[in-house]
């Protein structure tokens, strides 16, 4: 009898432990699911707020803003999507960014892209962890000046320094001290870097070298070479800045593709507008402009910046010939 009572009590304990274990596991599972759910909601609201910031910024020719988050934000901007905590949202904006953006403060900025008419805005997102050092020589000093102290300049919320290649050796300690405040340094050379490469290798731990080349005096159009050796084309300073901050050539080229789509779309609007004006104003000659716009549209995707430049100049000149009773198309 006593043995039976002891056995029943032991069974009760065992049963209570099993039930308790199941309930405990249920709560742990619930907590994990809730954490995931809450993370997804936060990520979705981050992506949505970024999208709204971009949309609001697109009304401006040039603007900058710092977004401050209550907790550490971490996301990627890749192939037209903002990816955060496994949440992905497509954005209909052209956003240049490094591989990963992390921090409580995120810097966003925008510039309007006019080639030759406005085709939209490009956006830059950065976490301020990379220092950009622009290196110039006597031939490219003006171009770098344009990029650091004018309307076309690199957004002020991107940490940027400029230095002459001839003064690099004298300023190297100062540059190293400045670079120590950042996780990485990106040198953007508007000249050859052979003469200072050993200085960079000997003094900087985490660095990358980008090389800009152009036959234009103002470097407004040209090519950018990434550390991997891949070369990309840029059309105007906004895209040069985009190439500077992009994680790699692929990330830049994806956005260049979006820019080209925009050029094509806006050019098409102007071709259709020219057709409409020609129909309503038969006394005006829109044939040459239509042909120039079509020719511009057809060279989209070219890997030569000079091909773009010639086409843009042609379109601009033909539009300028209009006026008076024959309204300009753009």
């Amino acid at each position: 009898m006593q043995n039976k009572a002891q056995m029943s009590s032991a069974m009760n304990y065992l049963f209570a432990i099993i039930i308790g274990g199941i309930i405990f596991m249920f709560f742990v599972g619930f907590a994990y699911k809730f954490m995931g759910f809450s993370g997804n909601v936060n990520a979705a609201s981050l992506v949505s707020s970024l999208n709204d910031e971009f949309a609001a910024f697109s009304a401006s020719d040039s603007a900058e803003k710092t977004l401050t988050f209550r907790q550490e934000a971490s996301f990627r901007v890749y192939e037209g999507r903002v990816i955060s905590n496994e949440q992905t949202q497509y954005i209909d904006h052209i956003v240049f960014a490094p591989y990963l953006i992390e921090g409580k403060e995120i810097f966003i900025s925008t510039k309007a892209l006019d080639i030759p008419y406005r085709v939209g805005n490009v956006f830059y997102v950065d976490d301020g962890k990379t220092l950009y050092i622009l290196v110039y020589d006597s031939n490219t000093e003006e171009a770098v000046e344009e990029l650091t102290g004018s309307y076309n300049s690199v957004p002020t919320n991107l940490p940027t320094l400029k230095v002459s290649v001839n003064e690099f050796g004298n300023n190297v300690e100062e540059l190293v001290a400045a670079a120590n405040k950042y996780e990485k340094v990106r040198f953007v050379f508007f000249t050859k870097y052979d003469s200072v490469l050993s200085l960079i290798q000997g003094n900087f731990e985490s660095y990358e070298i980008l090389q800009v080349s152009s036959s234009e005096e103002d470097y407004a159009y040209g090519n950018m070479m990434y550390p991997s050796g891949e070369q990309v084309v840029y059309l105007g300073y906004p895209l040069l800045i985009g190439a500077m901050i992009s994680g790699d050539a692929y990330m830049y080229e994806y956005n260049l593709g979006l820019v080209e789509e925009k050029i094509s779309r806006v050019s098409n609007v102007y071709i259709e507008k020219a057709k409409f004006l020609a129909m309503r104003l038969p006394e005006c000659d829109y044939v040459i402009l239509k042909s120039a716009l079509s020719s511009y549209q057809s060279i989209i995707g070219s890997e030569s910046y000079s091909v773009y430049m010639n086409s843009i100049e042609n379109v601009e000149n033909e539009n300028k010939k209009l006026g008076g009773g024959c309204p300009e198309v753009f």
Partner: protein
């Protein structure tokens, strides 16, 4: 043993009911957040649409703060910008000329410029209610180089 099972059963039932209520309120809160995000996005859109290069005025390659009505006629946003407009919720977008004349006519290349309504984006969806937002805009008519008063209307469809 029977008592233990009964206690465990009652506990689990109470727990399930509690969690059910909790999730119901949680979902309602998320839906509310989504709706306010939609309203916010559309308010932002009121200013961003007017600066779209596809429809904004451009004179000598410089943009002006007005909407080029000839561009509205030739640009089909419903085809090109479907993802942009559907990002958070469904909406209908159009421009209306208010002054000097307001007619009922929809603007097409044939009826232009004797018309008032320029439909910019029209989704093919069913809805039961709508929230209407609008902002004043200046409408530019390149044929006679004139400007007229109008408004941009966004109807959030629910």
């Amino acid at each position: 043993m029977m008592e233990t099972m009964m206690v465990a059963l009652v506990f689990i039932v109470v727990l399930m009911v509690g969690l059910g209520f909790y999730f119901k309120f949680q979902m309602a809160s998320v839906e509310e957040k989504a709706e306010s995000a939609c309203i916010l996005s559309n308010t932002v859109m009121l200013s961003s649409i007017t600066s779209m290069p596809e429809i904004q005025c451009s004179v000598n390659s410089n943009r002006e703060e007005c909407i080029d009505t000839s561009k509205l006629l030739v640009f089909d946003a419903s085809r090109t910008y479907q993802e942009f407009f559907n990002a958070n919720c469904e909406q209908r977008v159009y421009f209306v000329e208010l002054y000097p004349t307001l007619t009922n006519g929809t603007c097409t290349q044939g009826s232009y410029p004797d018309c008032s309504y320029y439909y910019f984006y029209e989704p093919n969806v069913k809805y039961t209610s709508k929230i209407v937002m609008s902002t004043p805009v200046s409408l530019y008519y390149p044929l006679d180089d004139s400007y007229k008063s109008g408004k941009l209307v966004i109807e959030v469809l629910q």
